[in-house]
Amino acid sequence: MKKVIISLIMMFGIISSTSFAGTLVINTDTSDAAPKEAFEYIIKKFEEENPDVTVKWNVFDHEGYKQSIRNFLNTDPPDVANWYAGNRMLPFVRAGLFEDVSDIWKDSGWVDGNLSENMEHAKKSMTIGGKQWGIPYTYYQWGVYYRKDLFTANGISVPKTWDDFVAACATLKAAGITPITIGSKYLWTTAGVFDYLNLRTNGYEFHMDLTLGKVPYTDPKVQAVFDKWDELVKPGYFLENHAALSWQEALTPMVNGEAAMYVMGNFAVAPLKEAGLRDSNLGFFQFPEITPGIPMAEEAPTDTVHIPSKAKNKTDAKRFLIFMSRADVQEEINKILGQLPINKNSSVKKGDPFLKAGLNMLNNAYAMAQFYDRDAPAQMASEGMKGFQEYMSNPDRRQKILERLEKVRQKVYK
């Protein structure tokens, strides 16, 4: 009997120690074509530079990953896992599942100079409780994507101020064109509009205070945001029936020339171009100024890599994180992704006007917001976005919605 037990223990021992030192297990959610290719490339490069390390790479389905990471961090932790910055990583940090990597950020003796300096603008979104919990490697800008030809045909120039923006909407509407398209079936697109209205009306600090639960939703400053929103919603400047459409379905009116603008992330460019738009008729501009003098903060959701605290091979995991922070690596990975590197010393893919505009905008940005559903805790975000969608369909219910959100806020941030 004893013998049986011992051999069983040995068997399990062998099975569970398959990832010995020298093997680096990486889990990612990069199931889409470009991200997958980017990681393929980058892992090959890492292995070439570190011949003593063998990488075992598990690709998860992008959507399924959100569920599986909660399991594997506890039960079968890899050495490196990718995730998102801001409040999105808070539950894992709080549960002690992510490793503190502040030393990588602090130590300027690592490969490529001082991280805190080269990635200064992204540091805030990686910091919880004064410590850094991962390395950001890519982000992309949000803003207004628009049909250049429709603007020209109606004599509209790119709006720099809120009044210009509203006037442009009025002109387009009068010409029978939907000024702004949006598909809010999955709710989050509404948060993009809210974030920008709040960032421009009240500024970055107030937006962060709101998403961190320090300000009530019934605050006059929040009312001011909805006053601005009213100016777009009440005259019907947004696409009708947006609640029935996904964000992709809402691209169609824009491709067909029935809608002129979309408040979106840079990932919308690829499907728009696939559908036939070209650099000549598709353009990008920064969300216009609302309150003059408020420094312009931008929306730039950031993707990150982390070390699970239960990882077996933390030494090599740290090497990988340092590798991912390097300017040349971020340059390569973002060339494939078609996104922007975080490291200031990286350059961007040439000949892409959208990336160039985005880089320009973000390098001059006062601060970076992660997006409502990453900055605010999950429950607040889901109720908030539901509220935004309800408001966009029924602007007269504003007061009731804000009171409900305030009730949720008091529960969530106890």
Binding site: K66, Q67, R70, L73, N74, P91, F92, R94, A95, L97, K185, Y186, L187, E240, N241, H242, A243, A244, L245, D373, A378, Q379, A381, S382, K386, G387, Q389, E390, S393, R404, K407, K411
Partner: protein, 306 residues
């Protein structure tokens, strides 16, 4: 004395109790798995509903807090109300299924093919049906768009309107449910005693009268089954909601089953305690229905035996 009697000697405990025990042995595998995978989780889930737990951090005991929050939750009432709409309108599947079954219960050339075409919606996955109906309802280019234009509702989106979304989903849900009831009734019609109908006809019964007093009572078991599966189908209406609206617009087409999922397991959820509280409420409602029907079934069986 007894020891010498070969008859008493041979009767062991096993032999004495064999008849009583053997059914339990045969039932054992089923019972064990049923308790592990169905009964136990019910109690575990009720237990979780007294905790605040995100699935990662340690859980905190909060007593009835989740239930108190539920009472003050607008979306909970919307979902409950929608569940009621489902219960009422989903019931249409039963009479429509019966009507179709009677219509199809005739012997003409090719009826088998026609019958199987009517079964078809039941065979298609709910997900596919949900997706196709979403396309039907699409404003501007959906199949029903010309009809809506005709009655002056140009560009009207059924699934984006808080007042119509639930009915849109129920309508899509009826499509396979009618087929299900149809199958149940067709089998029931096969077992109808033709002599009774003959006798009825001789006594001058015809048309609706014949149907109501002679055919329908004989279909009682099929009706019972059709109602039970439809009630349960209405209460667990999850997949259609998930595919077609995800509870939207802004939670107005939510039902308890989907709201539970949203709170406990969706991307922005992970409130296991709150989700479990919703599940417990849903379970209680279902339990009432099921107990009521089991009681009726029991009573009917007894009447039959008397």
């Amino acid at each position: 004395m007894e020891l010498n009697n070969p008859k008493t000697k041979r009767i062991t405990w096993w032999q004495k109790n064999q008849i009583k025990i053997s059914p339990w042995i045969f039932l054992a595998p089923g019972l064990i798995f049923f308790s592990i995978y169905v009964i136990a989780p019910i109690f575990v889930s009720i237990g979780i509903s007294f905790y605040q737990w995100d699935g990662l951090s340690p859980s905190i005991y909060v007593g009835l807090q989740n239930y108190i929050e539920l009472l003050d939750d607008e979306y909970f009432y919307i979902s409950l109300w929608n569940n009621l709409k489902w219960l009422i309108f989903f019931m249409l599947a039963v009479p429509i299924g019966l009507g179709l079954a009677i219509f199809l219960n005739q012997i003409v050339f090719g009826i088998r093919l026609i019958k199987s075409l009517f079964f078809f919606p039941f065979v298609i996955s709910q997900v596919v049906i949900g997706l196709i109906f979403t396309w039907f309802y699409q404003p501007n280019y959906g199949v029903i768009a010309p009809f809506l234009n005709f009655i002056g509702l140009e560009g009207f989106s059924i699934l984006a309107n808080e007042n119509t979304a639930t009915y849109g989903i129920i309508f899509a849900g009826l499509y396979p449910q009618i087929a299900y009831c149809l199958i149940l009734y067709l089998t029931g019609l096969n077992n109808i005693n033709p002599e009774q109908i003959e006798a009825g006809r001789m006594d001058g019964a015809k048309g609706f009268h014949l149907f109501w007093n002679i055919v329908l009572p004989q279909l009682r078991h099929a009706t019972f089954l059709a109602i039970v599966v439809t009630v349960i189908g209405a209460l667990r209406s999850f997949d259609m909601v998930a595919i077609m609206t995800q509870g939207g617009p802004y939670g107005y087409s939510n039902v308890l089953a989907y709201y539970m999922f949203e709170q406990a397991l969706s991307e922005y959820g992970y409130r296991m305690g709150y989700g479990s509280a919703i599940a417990t409420v849903l379970f209680t409602i279902m339990m009432f229905y099921i107990l009521f029907f089991i009681y009726r079934m029991y009573r009917n069986e007894r009447e039959d035996n008397n």
